[in-house]
Amino acid sequence: MKKIIILGVVGLVLGLASLCFASTSIRIAATIGETHQMNVALSRMANAGATPTVVNDLTGTGMDFGTLIQDPTDHNFRTPVYFYIDAPVVSNRASWTITHSATDFAKDGTNNLNANTNVTFVKATSTGETALSSGGLISYATAKTRAAITNTELGWSAGVTGGWLRIYYGIAQGSGDATGVSVITTDKPVGAYTGTVTLTLSP
């Protein structure tokens, strides 16, 4: 009987010890979901060197250049106002593209400002700007149909977060304008000229 009790105690001790030293595998799993997002900041510049005014209200006035001012000397129409759009992307995809497209910047079917407006594409970072080879200073007429900026051009690759796309829009000044862009003359009929710029983020 004693033997049975001793054997039972030994078995219990060994059993408990084995429980104490047993290795247990716990499976750890985590899934990172896809996220794909483009944020936007629209800034209005009253003139070159001015402090930008951020237009971040959806009910805001849009890229409103206002009423153009007629130069008393050459009678052409100008404005010192210009805009820029910042379009930072938040994405965990390996590659993505921002495509720029636009409708005519027009009053009607015949009269438009496509060849009187400058568009510039740059890569922006917290320390400054660099020109993009695929954009540079071009006319609205050119930017209307082209401009695809890839994550690589903005310095994003293999998990490295780069800069963001900045696009400037300005009415021709008569000097320093893009190729094919000229100042608005009195030939342009008076009226409201509007266009729609569309930025598309795609994989």
């Binding site: 794909h36 938040v90 917290s126 890839t150 009415i171 266009g195 569309t198």
Partner: protein
């Protein structure tokens, strides 16, 4: 004096930090989506269903419009796309896709589920494509007041691309020819080029490598081609640079092209692989004497 310099440095660093913070923090948060590419293999006459979650992470409500579009790859086939009205391309799958809702307003910090279905006609074969846009109007120009009034609207949209392979009918094939192997005036001693053509009936995202073997079978150089993205019946240029100079001798130039990159990305398959080779003969000073047939 040292203290003043230190103080000045701290102020400059603070301003730099603040300017960096402000420049990235001023953007308005627009909704995000959780699926930007959807690839299905669906049998003729069958359908698949799914959902896309649109999330507003901002404290402002956002109005969204959802609509379909066609898309096509643009030259040089590097993946850049052109978005076109529905019915613009022969391989459009837009007519097969239904979704709901088409318009909604996202409350602050809320999510909206967009359900979709893809129904493949019984007589379809090959690959078909479409884009589903999630669009928000960011700003709208005000009506004219007087004089030369000018303004622009700004629209922001995010695309989910649909790739639909009709199960049992897919031919993922390509041809590669017109080998170019030339001495380069730039930094790399030689440049390599190939003409790629999608001869199948589905989209092909391809990439590849090359290696050069000497007569002893030793690999003496290797490199990579650019990734290309094509639809059926379209072509692209594969290009690579050989970084090493070649001493006088006979070599085998071997190419391996992977036509299944899109399948790997979607985690639904691999390959096929194309392997080609050509014999090249190099003379004194790296001069190319002969380029054999691509086999």
């Amino acid at each position: 004096m040292k203290k003043t310099i230190f103080k000045g440095s701290v102020i400059i660093l603070f301003i730099l930090f603040l300017s960096g913070f402000l420049s990235s923090a001023s953007a308005v948060d627009l909704p995000n989506i959780n699926k930007s590419k959807i690839r299905f293999s669906i049998a003729p006459g069958k359908a698949e269903y799914g959902e896309i979650i649109v999330e507003n992470q901002s404290s402002e409500p956002r109005s969204m419009r959802v609509y379909l579009s066609d898309w096509d790859y643009l030259p040089p086939a590097d993946g850049t796309k052109e978005f076109l009205p529905v019915g613009s391309i022969p391989l459009s799958s837009a007519a097969w896709i239904s979704f709901s809702p088409a318009e909604f307003t996202l409350s602050p910090f809320s999510k909206q589920k967009v359900d979709y279905s893809v129904k493949v006609p019984a007589n379809a074969s090959g690959g078909y494509y479409a884009a589903l846009f999630f669009e928000s109007i960011f700003t709208k120009a005000q009506p004219a007041k007087e004089g030369m009034q000018v303004g622009m609207n700004l629209v922001i949209r995010i695309a989910t691309l649909f790739y639909v392979d009709v199960e049992g009918t897919v031919k993922r094939t390509a041809s590669v020819d017109n080998l170019l192997f030339k001495k380069d005036a730039g930094n790399a001693p030689y440049s390599i080029g190939l003409d790629f053509r999608n001869t199948g009936n589905v989209d092909i995202s391809a990439g590849g490598t090359f290696h050069i073997m000497d007569d002893k079978g030793m690999v003496i150089s290797r490199g990579e081609f650019n990734d290309i993205h094509t639809f059926p019946a379209s072509g692209a240029k594969l290009a690579a640079a050989l970084k090493d100079s070649l001493p006088k001798g006979e070599y085998d130039l071997v190419f391996t092209l992977d036509l299944g990159k899109a399948l790997e990305e979607a985690n639904i398959g691999r390959g096929p692989i194309i392997t080609k080779e050509a014999r090249i003969s190099i003379g004194e000073n790296g001069k190319i004497l002969d380029i054999g047939q691509l086999k």
